[in-house]
Amino acid sequence: MKQKSIVKWLGSLAAAASLFAAPVAQAEEDIVIGGSIPMTGVFAFAGIGIHAGITDYVKMINDTGGIKGRKIKYVPEDTAYKVDASVAAFKKITGQNKVNLYYGDSTAFAKTINPELERMGSIIMAGASFATEINDPKKYPNQFLVGPDYTEMIGILMRHIAKEKPGAKVAFVYSDTEFGRDPIDEGEALAKRLGLNVTGKIMTPPGSVDVSTEIVKLRRAAPDYTIFHGYILAPIPEFISQARKMGMTSQFMGTFWSMDNSMVMKMGEAAEGFMGVMPFRYYYESDAKAPMLEKIRKMRPEYQSNAYMQGFLTAMLFTEAAKRTLDAGKTLDGKNLKASLNTIKNFDTGGVVGVPITIRGNSIPVGRIYRFDSKQQKMLPASDWIHLD
């Protein structure tokens, strides 16, 4: 134990002697949201939306005076969707600011930084990952998912299928990545519980160009519903158009990251009737009572992606957790923030999510089925909001 104290002492000496980029003195009141944001690289389409969403919500809050008089400061850094760059950004941002809230860009980053978050104990983090593994308050006490995890997304889809066509045949098509494999085993188990029949589990190699053999397999599985997971765009359109040419009548479904309207529009003809689960409303939905969406549309007249909504909602939940912590007269640290977050019950998001949300564990297990309408070139609601328990 003696050594430990020596190390601690050395550590404080290090902090005291900090020469390089010593933490910038800043107004004590600022509440800082740090962010490893993939502004460039393969995930840039999402990162740019996320960045805009967080920026807008932070601006909205600051325009109305911040939280209990304290301004919110958003400090993003580009990561190009690379884990080492994300960690570097984290170290840089937390080294220069007193950070309480953080947005991470990938599952790998969430897992990498988790021990550091626990050690620091001052931050709660959400991010662009919906990995099932993170939805575990014991293992990831300082993180949460803004939306349902991937398994829950599949669960919502299945519930819809089971209602629409009991005993239907379902096939999974997924990529051979951590992202792709994430919900498959549990999804299969759930299908059994719901009385659905899984006739095919087809894994495609990552980055594979030609999926003809997989399509031949899919035809053999003859599913009523095909669920794609682990893709953003390719090879979904090729699957759908070839399967239709073969005379298959399957419905095709996707999960969050393949559901953005501009992405689905890129599918061309294959997009018609493409369905999937989405925990947030689309930018253009104007029929519902959604004051927040109207504000967003006023701020940004052009279409904003689902990633924008996710970033926006993340910032909203961050600030809500901070507000509740401060209201309770507690200090802003990871434990208190997370506890405050978990007090959120039947919370009205202003229409970003169509129903009031409750955060019990690490996720928000709610979503709705949308279907693409090629006449309007829009994803339109195809079900009520589905709540998992």
Binding site: A14, L19, D84, V87, A88, K91, E116, D176
Partner: protein, 348 residues
């Protein structure tokens, strides 16, 4: 060579650092390394550890590519082997960190020898391609041997334990990573003062002549491969302690290309080259980020950053190969020679 350093014995002539000035600089460097963690913040410590790990791995590749003339595009996969070994040892047995690192190096070395076997039949480029094949096969094993490696989800690594102190911050880890990297550097530098190292160089310069001179190609090529993989394995083990999560996607082919680039840019076939290359290539993205941040591009700037980084990365490889095949190390040497010979002028 420095002027005014008359050597009086062969031992002196062979020594790694032969002048007082060099020892002086070395001492300065040592003090800097010792003092660095106390003055640097977390971000710089993070970069320092990353650079040290990259130096270790790049030096390993330099032994193979720079000194023996065999190209490998499997360095990242061998790092993966080391990282997984460390993760498994740490998770299952909780053995001391140093032992785990050695085990990581050992496993990588064994596999490296197996992969190196085709190098006996085929030369140069074929070997590079067979190492690409090996990295894909290893990736498959990492991703699909779920009971051992945790599948695509990978493994989390408990912090290295040093006499009861968990090495869980960059500050603490620095004291593991940097000494290990330094030891590896000194070993590598000394390797080329031995028969084995000189045999490597002979093979690189002309393998047929080397064989005629009585150097068994088979044994030495495999030795080189084994050493290089060992370095990669240990570096990978450090990587595992550093990032604390190991997944199959942590070690892409791009990473192998990164190390090859580091060796090329730094200077093939010199220890200093590996060091300079690893520092340079690790810092380039961070420096570019700073530069793009300074440019008055507004939010547009952020969007071009990643492609520009990729282009600069490629141009550095191409540029150095065409214009300065000896790498940064040669530029450094020229600068040094200028000061050594001053006030006289260096010719050529």
């Amino acid at each position: 060579m420095r002027i005014g350093t008359a050597k009086q014995s062969y031992a002196h002539d062979e020594s790694l650092f032969d002048t007082r000035t060099q020892w002086g600089w070395l001492a300065t460097l040592g003090i800097t390394l010792l003092a660095f963690p106390f003055v640097a913040n977390d971000y710089w410590l993070y970069l320092a550890c990353l650079v040290a790990i990259n130096i270790a791995s790049a030096t390993g590749l330099n032994i193979l590519t720079g000194y023996t003339g065999l190209v490998s595009l499997g360095q990242a996969a061998f790092m993966g082997l080391g990282a997984y070994t460390v993760a498994i040892f740490e998770q299952r047995f909780g053995t001391p960190a140093v032992l785990n690192l050695l085990a990581g190096g050992g496993v990588a070395m064994l596999v490296g020898v197996v992969v190196g076997i085709p190098s006996l039949r085929v030369k140069g480029l074929y070997l590079a391609i067979s190492t690409i094949a090996a990295s894909f096969i290893l990736h498959f094993v990492f991703a699909n041997w779920t009971s051992l490696t945790g599948g695509t989800g990978g493994m989390t690594v408990p912090p290295a334990n040093f006499f009861g102190i968990p090495l869980d911050t960059s500050f603490r880890l620095y004291w593991l990573v940097v000494p290990v990297a330094l030891t590896m550097l000194v070993c590598a530098a000394n390797l080329f003062r031995t028969r084995i190292g000189r045999a490597f160089i002979a093979i690189r310069d002309r393998d047929i002549s080397a064989e005629v001179l009585g150097i068994p190609l088979l044994r030495y090529k495999l030795t080189s491969f084994a050493l290089s993989s060992f370095y990669a394995g240990v570096a990978g083990g450090l990587w595992a302690y550093f990032f604390r999560v190991v997944t199959p996607e942590s070690f892409p082919l791009m990473m192998s290309i990164f190390f090859l680039a580091a060796v090329i840019v730094g200077g093939m076939g010199t220890i200093l080259g590996g060091i300079l290359g690893a520092i340079f290539m690790t810092m380039v993205p961070e420096v570019l980020k700073l530069i793009v941040g300074w440019l008055p591009l507004g939010s547009e700037g952020a969007v071009i950053l990643s492609p520009v980084r990729t282009i600069v990365f490629g141009l550095l490889i191409v540029g150095f190969l065409i214009f300065e095949p000896l790498g940064l190390q040669e530029l450094w040497r020229r600068v040094r020679r200028f000061f050594h010979l001053w006030p006289f002028r260096a010719q050529g």
